[in-house]
């Protein structure tokens, strides 16, 4: 690429990388270069080639063309796991902690003892583990079972493990996807600490704001190609989105705009009416009203109970006291069928876990809630299923080769669209969407939020349950929860710091790092 021999060599440098899987080109003449101690962001839409690049950088996949160098030396041979690990560490999107094993054992998995036939000394192992955790300032009992840790703690365990191999370059693949705002803040603090110790990061995220918060350099990939690498400060929000999508982002900047046009509308009949709802250990005495034509945000951090409340509305939990009325009629029976019949559609929190049957087709997944409408006498007619699915695919702009394609073959954003399609298939009075844009790229995010808005425009109601400011910006009104109680309500024009403060349970608070939507005041 550019002139060598001036600066210290990059901790990782890939040039001219090409990789194809069968007919699809995953990477085409792509490259990246990460300097020591740098925090480098890699962004791109789903399918841009980020995961393949991670696979190549970590030695799990071999590039067809191109070269890879670590600190100026050529990459180790494939299969030499130890050599790869001492150069590059990776914290994967999916947790790679094994729940039934202790923290100490997870940290030293497959190297608990110096040799394969040497017995493991458990006390020594736990001591080494607590030293390692202490070194990175992580306060976790090494004897605890990994299953009992919080998501955040598990992530720290993974980071500590990754660094314990001696690597000074670490890849974080969407580390914030499973964390709440507070957890993200703590994670970032820790990462900045590590950066001061000279660790370089390659940070992959769909949240552009996080890129501005944490990183100094950003590389954009699109359609298997390297598009641009630039200091974060030189690339404002719109330019970044443009680089990612290849289209001008002037009109609908992510999440900011889609709601602006509609000023009134919140005058329809109440479609969802919740009074004094209580579920022990989750939330207490919550009252809430959502009117036709309205999108209401239910904001709250992980432990706030907002997700549990949403799941209660959809019939997944039974509230201890209180009543729920949908479209003026009280929902007495609990259970998902009752909630569906009453007219509640749910987009669940975790699409892999609760949302999709990965091996089944798009059509089947999208029509899972409406199998009773697809044929007479309990039959499900394939022709009608397909027809229904085609309609949903068109309606939600799902990019799939066909209605019969298994859902697991789609990208994250399109999978999420299938989940939304399923929720909308029953034509519900109230759409309850939990973190509807979790882990999807910018364009899909806009689309999904726009589609939720359309539900309201069609005279229905939507409840968006999230701690994601971009999601909440698309709402007409926001109810904030903290520790199971409603603590604040905001109309339009709220300020980020007020909402974040409410979600964090602090009345007032100095301006947060997460700034406003324009993305102009990045500090760098």
């Amino acid at each position: 690429m550019a002139d060598p021999a001036t600066a210290p060599p990059a901790v990782a440098e890939a040039t001219g990388i090409g990789k194809r899987f069968g007919a699809t080109v995953a990477l085409r003449d792509a490259g990246i270069s990460v300097a020591p101690g740098e925090s480098h962001a890699l962004v791109g839409r789903n399918g841009a080639g980020k995961s393949t690049l991670v696979g190549i950088l970590t030695g799990l996949q071999q590039p067809d063309t191109g070269t890879l160098r670590f600190s100026g030396e050529p990459a180790p041979s494939v299969g030499d796991t130890d050599a790869w690990r001492s150069r590059v560490a990776c914290v994967y999107q999916r947790s790679t902690v094994i729940g039934d094993l202790s923290v100490a054992e997870n940290l030293f998995l497959n190297r608990q003892s110096p040799g394969a036939l040497r017995p493991i000394r458990w006390t020594a192992l736990r001591r080494r583990a607590s030293e390692l955790l202490g070194e990175y300032g992580v306060d976790i009992d090494p004897a605890a079972r990994a299953r009992d840790l919080t998501v955040e703690q598990r992530q720290f365990v993974e980071i500590a493990r990754a660094l314990s191999f001696g690597a000074r370059f670490i890849i974080l693949d969407e580390p914030t996807a499973r964390l709440d705002a507070r957890g993200i803040a703590r994670l970032f603090d820790k990462l900045r600490d590590l950066q001061r110790q000279g660790v370089a990061f390659l940070f992959i995220s769909h949240h552009l704001q996080e890129v501005y918060d944490l990183c100094t350099t950003v590389t954009v990939y699109r359609d298997a190609r390297h598009i641009v690498t630039a200091p974060v400060a030189d690339l404002d929000h719109d330019a970044l989105v443009e680089a990612m999508t290849g289209e001008s982002a002037a009109a609908p900047a992510a999440g900011a705009a889609p709601a602006t046009g509609r000023a009134t509308a919140a005058t329809g009949a109440p479609l969802l009416d919740v009074t004094g709802l209580t579920l022990r250990d989750a939330y207490a005495d919550v009252s809430l009203e959502v009117r036709a034509g309205e999108v209401v945000g239910l904001a709250g951090a992980t432990a706030s109970g907002n997700v549990r409340l949403a799941e209660t509305l959809a019939g997944l939990h039974r509230a201890d006291t209180g009543r729920i009325a949908v479209a003026g009629r009280e929902v007495r029976a609990s259970g998902v069928p009752a909630a569906l019949a009453a007219g509640v559609g749910l987009v669940p929190e975790d699409r892999h876990h609760q949302g999709l049957v990965g091996s089944r087709s798009v059509a089947e997944n999208a029509t899972l809630t409406v199998t009773d409408q697809l044929g007479p006498y309990g039959t499900v007619l394939p022709s009608r299923t397909r027809e229904f699915a085609e309609r949903m695919i068109k309606d939600l702009d799902i990019r799939t080769p066909g209605a019969g394609t298994p859902v697991s073959a789609l990208s994250g954003g399109n999978q999420q669209k299938v989940v939304v399609a399923r929720a909308l298939a029953t034509d519900p009075h109230v759409l309850v969407a939990v973190r509807p844009t979790n882990g999807v790229d910018v364009r899909s995010k806009e689309f999904l939020l726009g589609r939720i808005r359309k539900v309201a425009d069609d005279g229905r109601a939507a409840l968006v349950v999230s701690d994601e400011l971009d999601d909440l910006r698309a709402c007409d009104r926001i109810v904030a929860m903290f520790h199971g109680r409603v603590v604040a309500e905001f109309g339009r024009g709220w300020r980020d710091e007020d909402l974040v403060a409410a979600m964090e349970g602090v009345a007032a608070r100095p301006a947060q790092e997460r700034d406003t939507e324009q993305g102009e005041e990045q500090e760098g």
């Binding site: 994967y92 790679t96 039934d100 054992e105 497959n110 493991i120 001591r127 030293e131 004897a143 079972r145």
Partner: protein, 347 residues
């Protein structure tokens, strides 16, 4: 800045952390789970004592132990395989077919009631038998891991096929003329206790230690708990799973050696229907069917519980016609006990 050098071993902070949790052992809560059947065994002991004075005699208890040996070896094999997240149904056929093939290869071609091939010297009977077990495990592993076939169905097919092979070779009859070397372990006594019990205890001890203190043993838990995570940690998932399947086959073949020696013959339906008992004993002993959880000690208590129940019932004069009913009932009861003693759901 709390970086510590290797020389100053006892770091105060680390020591405090270690001292704060002295009773924790690898596996944490899993420890309770593996002990959850011990009270049940004690209760059975008390019941047995009340029911019959013959129960608490060394003859009776050794008899129970001896009868447990063959089943417990299958349980040992199945526990290892289940911990690694797989299943092997064909073990119950291996226990019969491996001895038959070994004996078939070594017995004289003429003279006896059963005509062998006389291809190999007689002393090779046991090694050949174990080798057959290993081959069965390896072939199952090939189908499951290389061709990526469904393990449950592959081993179900192997179960039927191997049973059929045994019947075909033995012409459906029991083989009674066994080489002396082959029957020795099954009926010899060392220090007043049947050799089979010693060997079994030794194998369980070796297996238990390997699972607790060896990297490759711990790897089974990692593979069963989350194979992807194990792979990213550098564990050779397929290779280790394959080895476990082979070890399972060898253990089942060895159980066949003990069983044949114990009864002095290889019956045509040796091991038939055992797989249900094997699964029951393993699961009530706390090994998870989903992999990644359980211990060999727990599995052993599972076998002992089942065998003690049968023994106590026999001593109590329960009509044998009720045995099957009670056997099934006790499995469910034991499952409930271990569910609540460990406090964990069993999915």
């Amino acid at each position: 800045m709390s970086t510590t050098t290797d020389v100053t071993e006892p770091v105060p902070a680390a020591e405090a952390a270690a001292a704060g949790t002295p009773r924790r052992v690898p596996g944490g809560l899993a420890r309770f789970r593996e002990l959850s059947l011990v009270p049940a065994i004690l209760v059975l002991g008390v019941i047995g004592f009340i029911v019959s004075p013959a129960f608490l005699t060394s003859d009776n208890l050794i008899g129970v132990a001896q009868q447990s040996t063959e089943l417990s070896l299958l349980v040992l094999a199945q526990a290892l395989i289940l911990i690694a997240g797989r299943m092997d149904l064909s073990l119950e056929s291996t226990i019969g077919v491996a001895p038959v093939i070994a004996v078939w290869l070594v017995l004289p071609a003429a003279g006896g009631r059963f005509t062998g091939l006389e291809l190999l010297p007689v002393w090779t009977a046991i090694p050949v038998c174990l080798l057959v077990g290993a081959v069965i495990g390896a072939v199952n592993g090939f189908f499951i891991l290389k061709l990526r076939l469904n393990g449950f169905i592959v081993t179900l097919g192997a179960l039927t096929m191997l049973r059929g092979l045994q019947i075909a070779i033995s012409e459906g009859r029991s083989i009674v003329e066994l080489p002396a070397s082959f029957t020795y372990l099954g009926h010899a006594s060392w220090a007043g206790v049947p050799a089979a019990i010693w060997v079994c205890a030794l194998l369980f001890a070796v297996g238990g230690c390997a699972l607790a203190w060896l990297r490759h043993g711990r790897a089974l838990y990692a593979i069963g708990g989350n194979p992807e995570a194990a792979r990213t940690a550098g564990i050779r998932v397929d290779r280790i799973t394959w080895v476990v399947l082979i070890v399972g086959g060898v253990l089942a073949a060895f159980a066949g050696v003990l069983y044949s020696g114990h009864y002095g013959s290889i019956s045509a339906d040796q091991g038939s229907g055992w797989i249900f008992q094997v699964f029951a004993a393993t699961v009530i002993g706390g090994v998870s069917l989903n992999g990644g959880r359980g211990t060999l000690f727990g599995a052993l208590t599972g076998v002992l519980t089942l065998q003690l129940v049968v023994n106590v019932m026999t001593l109590a004069g329960v009509p044998p016609l009720w045995n099957q009913f009670l056997n099934g009932a006790i499995i469910i009861v034991a499952l409930i006990i271990s569910r609540f003693a460990s406090g964990e759901k069993q999915e």
